[in-house]
């Protein structure tokens, strides 16, 4: 296993996103968006062969489908996963989704519904979608390709779509045993909820990024994990798999100007 020196930030993020599923075993992995979707395939083809992933529609595949394929040629299916079964599976808990929230607060509560008042929003976004049910029933991680104070807001998110670790939000008698937020992968760092009372902490910084830079781009105070380190660089093996999963290099269009993975310190 050799570590590559020439890689893009998108490729670094794909590898960091793949790691959210490490040690999950035989569960449904759902990555929403191009980078998380390549990442779920990478996870399955490297450390987590037990993961179940779909073809992006209604079938389970053991060979991840390539991004941007022009037809269904050569595809084969192991199982069926229509939306009714997705709900059954997620209520059962055997799923870990990597989703892209618009706002995240210090408690890990996320918003994708709207900005402003719900009754007459300043900006209608996607709506609650599956966030309430997903978040209270199974593990979730977040992918944020634009780490900044508008995403990581100072106060509570405008509309709490997915549950977090804010105790006042949990009525007495409601079961929080099945919720967990594993990781937040951003274009600056990887974070988890391993601080006191699930406080968010930075566990790795991408090459060339400082903790101070991350803190300045975040609307609430962050902790540093005691063993904070640099985010692992992609290996040659990982890059080869990523090229196979994304032969048309759609990943290069996901981040503005497709920055290199090795950024100079600001």
């Amino acid at each position: 296993m050799t570590t590559a020196t020439d890689f893009t930030l998108a490729e670094l993020l794909i590898c960091a996103c793949a790691d959210v599923w490490a040690e999950e075993g035989e569960i449904l992995a759902t990555g929403i968006g191009i980078i998380p979707r390549i990442a779920q395939g990478l996870a399955k083809l490297t450390h987590s062969p037990g993961l179940m992933i779909t073809d992006g529609e209604a079938y389970l595949v053991e060979e991840p489908v390539a991004i941007g394929a022009k037809n269904h040629e050569g595809r084969s299916y192991g199982g069926w996963m229509p939306y009714a079964r997705v709900f059954d599976s997620l209520w059962h808990g055997r799923r870990h989704a990597l989703v892209g929230p618009v706002q995240v607060d210090r408690w890990g509560q996320a918003n994708i519904s709207c900005i402003g008042e719900f009754s007459k929003p300043k900006r209608q976004m996607l709506g609650l979608r599956g966030f309430p049910g997903n978040s209270i029933n199974h593990a979730n991680s977040f992918f944020v390709p634009n780490h900044g104070p508008r995403v990581f807001v100072e106060k509570e998110v405008d509309l709490v779509c997915s549950v977090g670790y804010r105790k006042e939000r949990w009525p007495a008698g409601v079961n929080s045993d099945y919720m967990s937020i594993h990781h937040i992968v951003t274009d600056l760092c990887v974070m988890d909820f391993g601080g006191p009372d699930h406080a968010i902490r930075v566990i790795s910084l991408h090459p060339g990024v400082t903790f101070e830079q991350v803190q300045a781009a975040t609307g609430f105070p962050l902790l540093q994990a005691p063993d904070i380190r640099e985010t692992a660089h992609p290996t040659a093996e990982q890059l080869a798999i990523i090229r196979k999963l994304d032969p048309r290099d759609v990943r290069s269009k996901q981040l503005k100007d497709n920055p290199p993975g090795m950024r100079r310190a600001a």
Binding site: G56, K120, G133, I136
Partner: protein
């Protein structure tokens, strides 16, 4: 007497009334009974409550001022994540919005399908689903030793369900060969009347066992069948045809124009369904649209 449930789109829409709650099957830009929706757009119906996993159906009905309330898991065209006429209606505050977690919508339909007042779930708790979005939703405590507090999702009873399938017969038997049946079956059961549009209509389906497995719901649920070849356009109908991405982009662009909806209506909805199909390139063009690859 012999059962014959065949009706025309005009006949079934004439049987609907303003103020009704109408569930529309499919999912986003997939397998929407759009020929029936277009017939509603041409009608005088108003003050409707529309229920579903919305796409162009909800967007067009909002644009045409037919909607009092939407009950939705989302309103999206997938490759265009937010339905633009839905967004406009929301931001203008012109419709009542019952926005639901996707699973809660399923659960509300299922409660109605089972003639229950509600079904319990954890989905929605500890979020703004109750606090800011639907303050009318209530919680319930498990009567067993666990004492868990759950959300009581109320039944979403439908006056009518509008669904689209591959094939139907005059008795109301149906076949649906799509990769995903979505929640059409729950809608059929949650509704007092279920109107099914189809790509092919025969007198009586007499299939083998394997094919009978593609029967999505039993015929006693089906009130009327309407032959609408190409009737899901501009949404997809797989296997069969893909969604019409170019038309959907044209439609979405209308949301950004002054009088965009009126222009869209003038170009595509001025005449009957045959005129619509001609305006979008003809039935052959619709049924040759390639299936999307994800």
């Amino acid at each position: 007497m012999k059962i014959d449930k065949q009706k025309s789109a005009a006949e079934v829409v004439a049987s609907l009334k303003s103020g009704m709650t109408i569930g529309i099957g499919g999912w986003g830009p997939r397998r929407k009974p759009m020929a029936l929706v277009r017939e509603i757009l041409r009608s005088d119906l108003k003050d409707l409550t529309i229920v579903g996993y919305g796409g162009t159906d909800m967007g067009m009905l909002c644009a045409a001022g037919k909607v009092r309330k939407l009950i939705y898991g989302f309103v999206s065209l997938d490759f265009i994540p937010l339905e633009p006429f839905f967004r406009k209606a929301r931001e203008a505050g012109t419709i009542e919005a019952m926005e639901l977690d996707e699973g809660l919508l399923h659960w509300g339909l299922r409660a109605a399908a089972m003639r229950l007042p509600f079904l319990p779930t954890r989905s929605g708790l500890a979020t703004d689903q109750i606090a800011k979005v639907n303050p009318d939703l209530r919680m319930v405590t498990s009567p067993y030793d666990d004492g868990e507090v759950l959300l009581a999702m109320p039944a979403i009873k439908l006056d009518v369900a509008l669904l689209h399938v591959h094939k139907a017969d005059r008795l109301g038997n149906t076949r649906l060969y799509s990769p995903d049946p979505f929640f059409d079956e729950q809608m059929a059961r949650a509704a007092d009347r279920c109107i099914v549009s189809c790509e092919e209509l025969v007198d009586r389906i007499d299939s083998d066992e394997a094919d009978a497995r593609f029967n999505p719901y039993e015929r006693s649920l089906v009130t009327a069948v309407v032959l609408t070849r190409g009737g899901a356009h501009p949404t997809s109908h797989v296997p069969g045809y893909g969604w019409d991405a170019a038309h959907l982009k044209r439609y979405c662009a209308a949301a950004e124009e002054d009088n965009g909806w009126a222009n869209y209506c003038a170009e595509f909805l001025g005449g009957d369904e045959a005129a619509y199909q001609k305006a979008v390139g003809g039935l052959d063009a619709i049924t040759s649209l390639p299936r999307q690859v994800f």
